[in-house]
Symmetry: C2
Subunit: 345 residues, 2 copies
DNA sequence: AAAAGCACTCCCCTTGCCAGAGTGCTAATG
DNA sequence: CATTAGCACTCTGGCAAGGGGAGTGCTTTT
């Protein structure tokens, strides 16, 4: 298994192959490459290099006597050596500018983001606000609705609002007491810590007759203080773009199905983008996590305000996506997020 | 233009053609039909009837010497004469039972509904809660978040909760006053009426220096009291099912794109299902409203609690959908909605 | 080491052909 | 008089054969 050090010539040809394949979608052959190559190498020489690259695992042939197709390894290498100093196209920039006007809260921002990303990448744009347990509590608010119904609103420091209607029979006075207790004691705590501590206190007071704790226990048990928002918090847009690119109908259907299962997307973003690093992350080979996503990649970044991770945004597209452009756009919006939400604090 | 009265024989043959076409998707010819027909009519006789039905606009031929395909007119007739007394399949019923467990609020119900409908119809399920101006106000709640940010929560009698973050600089004390004023004066009013009356009062007091009205005016202008929830209130699920049915890629893409534009769906449901009638409504020929929806139909019903329309639910699918089954399912869930939300009041 | 030449492979598009299903019309039949 | 049988005709769709095109690996030449 020869592991040939990739020299200058190999690098150049590999890059050219990847770019040509991204542009055309056809396996690329030595002749085509020799024509478009600035320094005129003959097809035969290129063939030699190609053979080496195939051995090294960067190229594949759909069948004998077809051109070469980049492997995931090749894409990784290609992305690696991108300079990353490209500028955003004017068109994309103006789309972005127009879209984020007068945004105040995280949810809205995420919704627009998924839309904008799908527009400028011509692929699937996804964005979500982290509703995880590490958010800090701002305050809670309970209100009696009809008989036996209670509205619970939880607001986090990051501006996320989660409301749910519970089936409970508690008087407004008791609700006010409970809210007050929680707000006074736990403002600024993480949701996680608050829930744990509350559980502890409930347990402790269980034996005694404590009206307040009884209310809180009921609220707690009905999930009034959970911030997970099952499917709402993630926005997926541009699925229709897949139809144009994906030829295999079977695969297309699997893809759409996966995109509809928001939970899967949440896990995906969580797994790869829950990081404090600012950089855009490119994940090649999504099929390890989701089989239906074979030949698809994720280009995303965490959405941060200052040092705090508040969500993530990404483009999901085929391996032959325009990496440079997409990475630039993702990075741009991630920075915009920080800027917009910082200034409004 | 002979308008032949549709007699018993015509009715039977037309029904058979529609059903065969729904089952197979192929143009149906006289020979096939004669075989499957219980009273053995010869192909020739059937051809005669078919010719009449073609003249009357119920059938079409893709080309000479192909079988016949039902026109929209035929589907309308077919649906018309369905008895509608079919029972739900056991499988569907248990899917439904499992899905609506422990539901308390309208939003959740709608979300599940779209999911369930897509599952049992193998098509696109949609559902929305009406966020229209005719909802009655339950109460509002304002809370100061960070600097210059205010959380506004509006709750309607029907249990809909709408929250938004505004960029405003008002003290919590003033917010409390404003909320109290609105709650005391307008509980039970329709959103529409409340907004109109508030606008009037703001106008009236404009000249005088009234701190309270100033706050309310600011809140009003920032949209704190609007209940339209741009894209959240409508749930669309099962788009991936279209891939299996729709052959034309171009069309498929248009369809998916339309389904992504939630606003279009809201208008569609609003146009056809904002009715107090209980009955399931079948709309054949959606392309009049949405060109991309050619050859698609809508089978839906209003979601009502008592006499009040609180939303709508529907299945969107191709003309060759299983009408009977889908209608039964839609009707079942619509009744379930009434039942579940009534008992919890 | 790079290029040229050559024989070979494989895909895929085009063409031609034929079976099958369907139709409308006309003539026969109960 | 309604129904059926027969017939000539039409259109589609699948299948097979054939050939051009693009590409490869290997060998030889520069």
């Amino acid at each position: 298994m020869p592991s040939p050090s990739i020299g200058e010539r190999e690098r150049e040809i590999l890059t050219a192959i990847v770019e040509t394949f991204i542009a055309t979608g056809e396996p690329v052959g030595s002749r085509t490459l020799s024509r478009s190559n600035r320094e005129g190498l003959s097809p035969a020489s290129i063939r030699n290099v190609m053979a080496d690259l195939s051995d090294a695992g960067y190229l594949e042939q759909p069948h004998t006597s077809a051109g070469r197709v980049p492997t995931p390894e090749a894409y990784r290498y290609y992305v690696e050596q991108l300079t990353g100093k490209a500028r955003l196209s004017h068109e994309s920039e103006s789309i972005i500018q127009d879209s984020f006007h007068g945004i105040t809260d995280v949810q809205e921002f995420m919704e627009r983001t998924s839309h904008v990303l799908s527009l400028i990448s011509h692929n699937v744009g996804v964005a979500m606000a982290t509703t995880g347990p590490r958010n800090a509590l701002e305050h809670v608010y309970f209100s009696r609705l009809g008989d036996q119904k209670v509205l619970a609103v939880v607001v986090t420091k990051s501006g996320l609002v989660r409301d749910r209607v519970l089936r409970l029979d508690i008087s407004q006075a008791d609700l006010d007491l409970a809210a007050r207790y929680i707000n006074d004691n736990f403002r600024g705590w993480t949701m996680e810590a608050m829930r744990a501590e509350l559980a502890r206190r409930i347990e402790q007071e269980r034996s005694e007759y404590d009206r307040l704790m009884k209310s809180i226990e009921q609220l707690y048990n009905q999930g009034a203080l959970a911030t997970e928002q099952p499917s709402q918090a993630v926005y997926v847009e541009g699925a229709s773009n897949l139809v144009a690119n994906e030829q295999d109908r079977q695969h297309l259907q699997e893809l759409l199905k996966t995109l509809e299962e928001k939970q899967k997307i949440v896990e995906l973003l969580g797994a790869y983008l829950d990081t404090k690093q600012e950089a855009v992350r490119v994940v090649i080979g999504l099929d390890e996590a989701l089989p239906s996503m074979r030949n698809f990649v994720l280009i995303g970044a965490p959405a941060r305000v200052g040092d705090e991770v508040m969500g993530s945004l990404a483009v999901i597209g085929p391996t032959r996506i325009d990496y440079q452009h997409t990475m630039t756009a993702v990075s741009y919006i991630a920075r915009l997020f920080d800027k917009i939400l910082n200034e409004s604090e």
